[in-house]
Amino acid sequence: MSDKGIAKQVRETQVWKSIFRHGPPDNSRNRAAVIAGNVFLHLHPIKLKKSGVQLGYTWCMGGLTFFIFLALTVTGLLLMFYYRPTAEYAFNDIVALREHVPLGIMREIHRWGAHAMVITVWIHMFRVFMTGSYKPPREFNWGVGVILLVLTLLLSFTGYLLPWDQLAIWAITVGSGMAKATPFAGNAGPGAMLARIGDFVMVSDKNDVRFQLLGGRFVGEPALLRFYILHCVFIPLVVGVLIAVHFWRVRKDGGISAPL
């Protein structure tokens, strides 16, 4: 039997057919089918305007942001096998990731990927602004995008604490220190002075937004745990949901932007 024969035979098995519902995408019908029939590729339209595939126009920054998000999810999941968010172990675990855990660049990929994601998402926004792609009918999706950008920064910010080194806690101390100044909700913010009756202090370092964020009055073990959960579970979940909304709206608001 020739090779061709084998390939053909394989393609005619029930297993193959159950997975791939169509022939090779070398004709229009199958090209449509490959996109429409695949849950992941289904994010794309079956066909689109030519300008949408021109890198000079799209810069591909949104796509890269999404890809880096996926890469960070995968590397982050792997890192979680070795990392314990406690003051006792966090630092040592990071050292372990560098010193003896196989594939010693996992943490580097995760960290640099996080920086790269911040940059790509900024430039994605820059491009969308420059092509005026926030204009009707895409106003809402622009808003979703802005929130996603903020969440990207928060993801990066919460991850910054996890190595539990001097860089981490002091960056977070500086960053979270600003929450202290939130008007009416932070103990050093305008209006906090007013929220007291006698010795009943309604806004103090024990009950303001900063305390809520850190789970304590300063960056300590509770803060590490909270940031870990925000970083690994809470914000990624929200981001995942919003990304779905974002992509859905790209499709529904007329596909990737192009001149009207």
Partner: protein
């Protein structure tokens, strides 16, 4: 087809809304329920009650404070204040003028501060630039900068001077202003001074108000802001909870309910509001176990983290009455899943052991100490390991290495079979005739074992020939000597029951029926020189004369036990012996071949073999020195961590009446160990071998406390009060003191002194109490004294014995005393006496004025001495101790006959004529005088 149909409705909208309304209502109710469930906690009610109690106390304090205030004076001051206000008001114009002046100066100061701040910044910046230029060897630039810098500096220092001038001005104006307001401020201050305490109390009372603010602060949801009712906790990093392979810091939240535990004044409140009963020792800030660093469950046990449920804390009721009460009141349940529940109130002292593990006796832990004394009495540690405290102790029983020279074999067998039939006070426990081994076939085997043991022991026994001959003496006199010289510190004696029962001595056996037991010659030699028979005995020599020894022996030998003498022990049942041996040998072999193997042995071999095996089986060697058992471990289970042993590991047999708690099991076990076998069909070799000590319930309970303290908890070094080298030495010394039963006679730093109970009428007739002995006597003297005892107090009838101390023991004992008194070994050995002018004459005057020789008569008059020989003082006592003693003897030894010449405070001499009545000078002079006495004597 063209009429495409609109989709229809499956339900009616009204119906859907109704369902929605019902479900939402249920949903809403559950939400409210969640809130309430989360909010209502029992400890909150307790804290509210505590607040009311505090309010009551504060109100009482306010009443008291009000009484304290001189109301007349207050009224006067208030009147003055009114007047003062008028005066000040009349100066209104002047005051406002001065205030304006002040404002002007303050403005100047502020402006100058700004200017100076700028200058300061500039100076620092230019200085840095100048230094950088210098560093870079940029001479031109540096010169330029320097010129600029100098100019700026001059400006700055001018500015600083200006500021100082303004500030001086400000001060003057302020003083003036204060002067103008003087009449008001002075009176206000005076009033405030009087009323400070009251004001503070009023403030405290206000804090206990049940106001709206209080309600808001503690409202559901809002109670995260700044609640007054909240969980209180102590985190102790230095004491840990065992989380198996991890030690985690202890967290105690007991103070959430026990609100006033560390505050004096609440002693009479009901629980949980009561103050800790021993605040000076525990919990109090100044005590040696402050709450913040010791916590609660470190000592008491229990689940310190729990606050929501009385039972989950593992509170333990003490007694059935309390248990019933708690079940009714709090729904108390037996805490089955708690590894270490709270210690019952009467057993609390067990908690001390965890940290104070190696300490011989722990001050303040009465029950625990009694428990340990009972352990010492029965020698539990012979068979059981029991932690650091029980390590390296002597064997509890007498040596059997020369037993053949002491008692005869027949006596031995009957004694082993049932010790109490000879001596009802016997501490040798009963192995036989117990509830689990009284079946005829078991008795047959047991008797064979006893026979074999006796054969083995006597076979190995070395010969002994007494070195004294007994000649009859005066029994009455012997009895008197026994009661006088101090035998009762260690022995109970028949015929002296009254005294013996008072002292409750336990180091030596209760002396009874000796005439039926030992040879007269043996007894006399033993009394005169115990170490002749047993080298390592703790029995000391009392330095008895020949006559005294014979008198005592006569008395002791006059006691006979006729019934016991009449006993004869049935001869060895060889069949039973062979069966037992075959049984032993069949462990790794079939019974038949074991029988064959035994048959091959000679008769003697068989007997000795069974004897050795039986001694090993019952662990006789644990308490007695026996040949052939070197290196054998005690046969009992290790009790070092008994207090942490899971309750499931205790075997209860069929004893359902015994409660399912550690302490109940241990107490029951101690009283009748054979009970666990009762009603169970066991083969002979599997019977419980723990013998019966016939101890009372009270004793068993005390021992239980000591054993409960043996827990597995690891206390980090930082958690224990640092056992420095000194404390360790003290413990070692006290261990030696314990071994030789020093405290049977001497009370050491307030502990024991058993025999003193005989001298309740006149404590000064008893052995001297040792308080800070390491400070009192010189190291050299003590060393010499132990090796060569000589009487210090000739009027005492009780004698300090000559102990058979090894060099090592002597050193340990001395070092222990030194460290107990925080005294360096070579500190203050002897003092050179250097008189100041006129001092010696004064001393002589005092010597006669205080009439020292009336008691310290030795070497001065022929009177019967009532106090120690002062000629020995210089070589024996430390000068600083003499001074302390002279200052206030009652403070050291309450009840001493030594008069207090210097009053209770030690500063008012009864002889004010010498040294102008300066007590210190007098004491110094007398000390020197006494020391010189000794020195002259030596010369």
């Amino acid at each position: 087809m063209s009429e495409s149909k609109e989709p229809g409705m499956a339900f009616q909208m009204t119906k859907l809304h109704k369902v929605m309304a019902v479900l939402s209502f249920i949903f809403f109710v559950t939400t409210v329920w969640v809130f309430l469930d989360d909010y209502i906690r029992p400890w909150k009610a307790i804290q509210v009650e505590a607040q009311q109690i505090k309010r009551r106390h504060t109100e009482e304090a306010i009443k008291a404070a009000k009484k304290e205030i001189d109301s007349k004076k207050l009224a006067e001051l208030q009147a003055n204040l009114g007047k003062g206000k008028d005066i000040v008001a009349s100066r209104k114009k002047e005051i406002s003028k001065t205030e304006d002046e002040l404002k002007a100066v303050l403005t100047k100061i502020k402006a100058q501060t700004i200017k100076n701040g700028t200058s300061n910044g500039d100076v620092s910046a230019i200085n840095f630039q100048y230094e950088t230029a210098q560093k870079e060897h940029n001479a031109k630039e540096a010169e330029k900068k320097l010129a600029e810098l100098l100019k700026l500096k001059a400006e700055f220092s001018q500015g600083k001077d200006n500021l100082k001038a303004y500030q001086a001005e400000e001060k003057i104006i302020r003083a003036k202003l204060a002067d103008l307001n003087k009449e008001v401020t002075d009176n206000e201050k005076a009033i405030k001074e009087i009323t400070t305490k009251l004001n503070l109390l009023e403030l405290a009372k206000k804090q206990t108000d049940m106001s709206l603010i209080f309600a808001i602060r503690n409202m559901p949801f809002l109670d995260y802001l700044d609640p007054t009712i909240k969980i209180q906790q102590i985190v102790i990093n230095n004491v840990t909870d065992d989380r198996y392979f991890r030690q985690v810091p202890k967290v105690d939240r007991c103070i959430t309910c026990h609100t006033f535990i560390d505050q004096p004044g609440y002693e009479k409140e009901k629980q949980p509001f009561r103050t800790h009963p021993k605040l000076d020792l525990m919990v109090g800030m100044e005590s040696s176990h402050p709450m913040k660093t010791t916590g609660c469950t470190s000592c008491h046990g229990g689940e310190g983290q729990r606050v929501n449920d009385f039972a989950s804390v593992a509170h333990m009721p003490d007694g059935e009455k309390q248990e019933k009460e708690w079940i009714q009141k709090y729904g108390w349940k037996e805490p089955h899943h708690v590894a270490s529940p709270m210690l019952k109130l009467s057993q609390t002292e067990a908690g001390c052991v965890k940290c104070h593990s190696g300490v011989e006796l722990i001050k303040g832990a009465t029950v625990l100490n009694e428990g340990r004394m009972a352990i010492e009495k029965y020698g539990c540690y012979g068979c059981h390991k029991m932690g650091e405290w029980a390590e390296n102790r002597r064997k509890p029983g007498p040596s059997l290495l020369k037993i053949a020279g002491k008692v005869d074999k027949e006596w031995f067998k009957s004694w082993v079979w049932e010790p109490r039939s000879f001596n009802k006070h016997s501490r040798m426990p009963a192995f036989f005739r117990q509830s689990n081994n009284s079946k005829p076939e078991f008795i047959r085997y047991n008797m064979a074992e006893v026979n074999a043991i006796a054969e083995y022991v006597y076979d190995k026994s070395k010969p002994y020939v007494p070195n004294e001959k007994f000649h009859a003496g005066n029994a009455e006199n012997g009895k008197k000597i026994i009661s006088q010289v101090g035998c009762l510190g260690c022995h109970g004696v028949d015929g002296l029951e009254d005294q013996s029962n008072k002292v409750k001595a336990y180091a030596g056996p209760w002396l009874t029926g000796l005439g039926s037991k030992v040879q007269p010659d043996w007894l006399v030699s033993w009394l005169k020189k115990p170490s002749h028979y047993q080298e390592d005995t703790i029995m000391p020599s009392m330095r008895l004369s020949d006559q005294e020894a014979n008198d005592i022996a006569t008395y002791l030998l006059s006691m006979r036990n006729k019934t016991f003498e009449a006993l004869t022990f049935s001869p060895l049942d060889t069949k039973a012996r062979d069966e037992l041996l075959a049984d032993y040998n069949s462990t790794f072999d079939t019974y038949e071949s074991a029988v064959k193997k035994v048959a091959k042995m000679s008769d003697r071999e068989k007997t000795l073999d069974l004897g050795k095996r039986s001694i090993g089986k019952y662990g006789c060697y644990s308490c007695h020195n026996l040949e052939g058992f070197d290196g054998y471990e005690g046969i009992g289970p290790n009790l070092t961590k008994e207090g942490s042993k899971p309750i499931t590991q205790f075997g209860y047999g069929l004893q359902h009446d015994v409660a399912q708690t550690r302490d109940a099991w241990i107490t029951a076990h101690l009283q009748r160990p054979s009970r666990w076998d009762e009603g169970i069909d066991k083969v002979f070799k599997d019977l419980n071998k723990m013998p019966n000590f016939y101890m009372s319930e009270a004793e068993a309970k005390k021992i239980t406390v000591a054993i409960l303290g043996q827990v597995a908890d690891v206390v980090p070094m930082e958690g224990i009060k640092k056992h420095d080298a000194g404390a360790a030495l003290y413990n070692q010394g006290m261990k030696v003191a314990g071994k030789y039963n020093c405290m049977g006679c001497h009370q050491i730093d307030g502990l024991r002194g058993d025999i003193l109970k005989m001298y309740a009428d006149d404590i000064n007739q008893g052995p001297p109490r040792l308080v800070n002995e390491g400070h009192r006597v010189q190291t050299k003297w003590m060393y010499h004294f132990f090796g060569n005892v000589q009487p210090i107090r000739p009027w005492l009838q009780i004698r300090m014995p000559s102990f058979n101390l090894s060099l090592e023991e002597k050193n340990k004992l001395i070092a222990g005393f030194q460290q107990g008194a925080h005294q360096g070994t070579f500190e203050e050995p002897e003092m050179e006496v250097v008189w100041e002018p006129g001092e010696k004459e004064g001393a002589a005057k005092l010597w006669s004025a205080y009439n020292c020789v009336s008691c310290h008569s030795i070497g001065f008059t022929k009177d019967t001495p009532l106090a120690p020989n002062l000629h020995l003082a210089s070589g024996r006592l430390r000068p600083s101790w003499i001074r302390k003693w002279l200052t206030n003897p009652q403070a050291i030894l309450p009840g001493t006959v030594m008069p207090s010449f210097f009053g209770e405070d030690g500063t008012t001499p009864t002889e004010p004529g010498v040294f102008g009545g300066d007590a210190k000078k007098q004491i110094n002079a007398l000390t020197k005088y006494v020391i010189e006495l000794g020195k002259n004597e030596k010369k």
